[in-house]
Amino acid sequence: MFHKQVKNFLSAYLDGELDEKRRRLVEEHLKGCQECSEELNTLKALDQLARSSKVPEPGEEYWKTLSGRIRSRIILEEEEGRLSRLKNILVQSPGRLKLISTFAVVILVLLVGRQFLNEERGTERLREAELPLTLLSPKEESSVPTFREKEATDLETGELLKEDLAALKDRLSGLPKEAPPVTALEEKKVSESGVEGLLQEDQIAFGDKTSEPLKEAPPVPILEEKEVSEIETEEPLQEEFLAQDIPSEPPPSKAKVAETGEGVAIYSDEADERPRRRVAAKLKPAPRRYIKILSLSDVENFELALSQQSRGDYEDAIKNYYQVIEQNEKLAPSAQFQINLIQSATRDTAMDEKTLRRKAELWRSFVETYQESELIPDAYRYFADNAYELSKLTQKKEDINQAITVNEMYIKFLRESRTAEIYNRRRIVLERDLNRLK
């Protein structure tokens, strides 16, 4: 029994971890027990072997860059946290989302309601006029869709061109009244395409992908001029027309309409381009802004870039960051900050004059461009560090002056802290360097 206990203590005995009493007991036992002595020798050999085990040395460069990489990861994670908070504000904050949803629903109801009212008014007036379409010449018949376009245009602008309709009524008043009125189906088509178009825009804006998209237009991007025009006219428009600039002249006035001649000639091809352009002009910008507010694509792009950065895919990450900068002003400082980090800390750890100068320039550009960004203190820290290293390396007057200036700027953000002490000490060192040069 005692032998077995001693065997269990041999490992601790070898490590010098037994208390005095147990150590003596083991030593006494070892004098008379060959088996335990051999066991102890084996353990010693094992221990020596384990200690002699060598592992590959990763190289001096690895040790030099490790702290920089760790620092980058810390900043990256802080950035991800900031991004996550931003995303929460956009998406997950129930209060804000509720507010946005309520606002959107109100807008939608107003638009649909207005359209409905306009449609009713338009139909009523048309019925009053009892437009004799069947009596129109083939050329004139071809202008029927144009009429729908015009109505849709008026619906979209929110103001029926009362003068135009009145003029139309006046001009048609002499025609026979037996002719059938414009069918309700045709009118409905026009109004539906307008309403559904709006509904679809809202669904996109809210990220609702469950609803069926319209046949006339692909779900994304819905707001292209071509698609808008197709919804309005049900006829494909020529690209040349779409490519034209939106004319700045006002819609045809009553006087101009009156000058155009008899009957429905007022809806000639030339005349009906204007309302169509107006539709495009009216519809295009507003929903784009609408989508811009709620779109997560920039945020997702930023996230993708962050993950690429953490994986070391720096080129792809930089590409995506630049895309974010182009598309989203809010995220632009964060994206540029990450680009700078990659270019000044993660990817390029060299400390020669050319590199340090380039790094300092990167941060100088950042602090000048994004003066309002909350990242400015961090940017100044990097700027100050690089400027300091550069000045110590070159010992040039202008570099030292730059380092002093930036150092002072950074100190302003620090208030009273140990970090401030460090940068204050650094300032003293820099001033001493400068005095020595003088």
Binding site: N8, A50, S67, I74, I422
Partner: protein, 190 residues
């Protein structure tokens, strides 16, 4: 530079205070002080350079984020060791396989190479033994392995190991005992 010299002499506690005050430079210095210890500890645990690098980075990043919870006056190294060992053990548990050193470990100098006049056969035996031993260490349960690595490679006392792993000293003793027993069995078969 004088400043760097000053930082070199600064105690861990002072550096930690600086980090808590937002000084990343202080943290960089802490990293530089312990990076090798943590890397080699991780490498001996996970037996792979890339994984060891990941462990080192994870450990220091975690330490940075938890720095405000760190009680000043306590030594830093058991804390950072514990973080690193826990990450290693998670890696080992998750992979459910003992990760071996990649081929690059073959660049390790054979034992007999230091003395060109030594017996080549003996050297070969030693190399073979070493390989067996390393394989046996790799095959140990992560808990035993952690204790063994901390003792044999890092030369920590039982008291220090118990602090790092937050286990009683008696548990350190028994785990180490079992680990050595297992290794002995493997080597005796050679």
């Amino acid at each position: 530079m004088k400043e760097e010299g000053e930082i070199e002499q600064t105690s861990d506690g002072e550096l930690i205070s600086r980090v808590k005050a937002g000084d990343m430079g202080g943290f960089d210095e802490l990293v530089r002080r312990y990076q090798k210890k943590i890397y080699y500890l991780a490498l001996k645990m996970v037996r792979d350079h890339d994984l060891a690098d990941e462990v080192v980075q994870d450990a220091f990043v975690k330490a940075y984020h938890a720095m405000n919870k760190f009680k000043e006056g306590y030594p830093f190294y058991p804390w950072i060791y514990r973080i690193a060992v826990n990450i290693c053990m998670n890696h080992l548990k998750q992979s459910k396989r003992q990760i071996r050193l990649s081929d690059e470990r073959e660049i390790r100098e054979p034992v007999g190479r230091e003395n060109p006049h030594s017996n080549p056969e003996k050297s070969l035996m030693e190399v073979e033994k070493m390989k067996r031993l390393e394989n046996a260490i790799d095959a140990l349960p992560p808990k035993w392995k952690a204790v063994l690595v901390l003792r044999a490679h890092e030369d920590l006392s039982y008291e220090e190991i118990s602090k790092v792993l937050r286990i009683p000293k008696g548990t350190v003793m028994s785990r180490l005992n079992r680990a050595r027993e297992r290794l002995k069995e493997v080597l005796e078969k050679l």
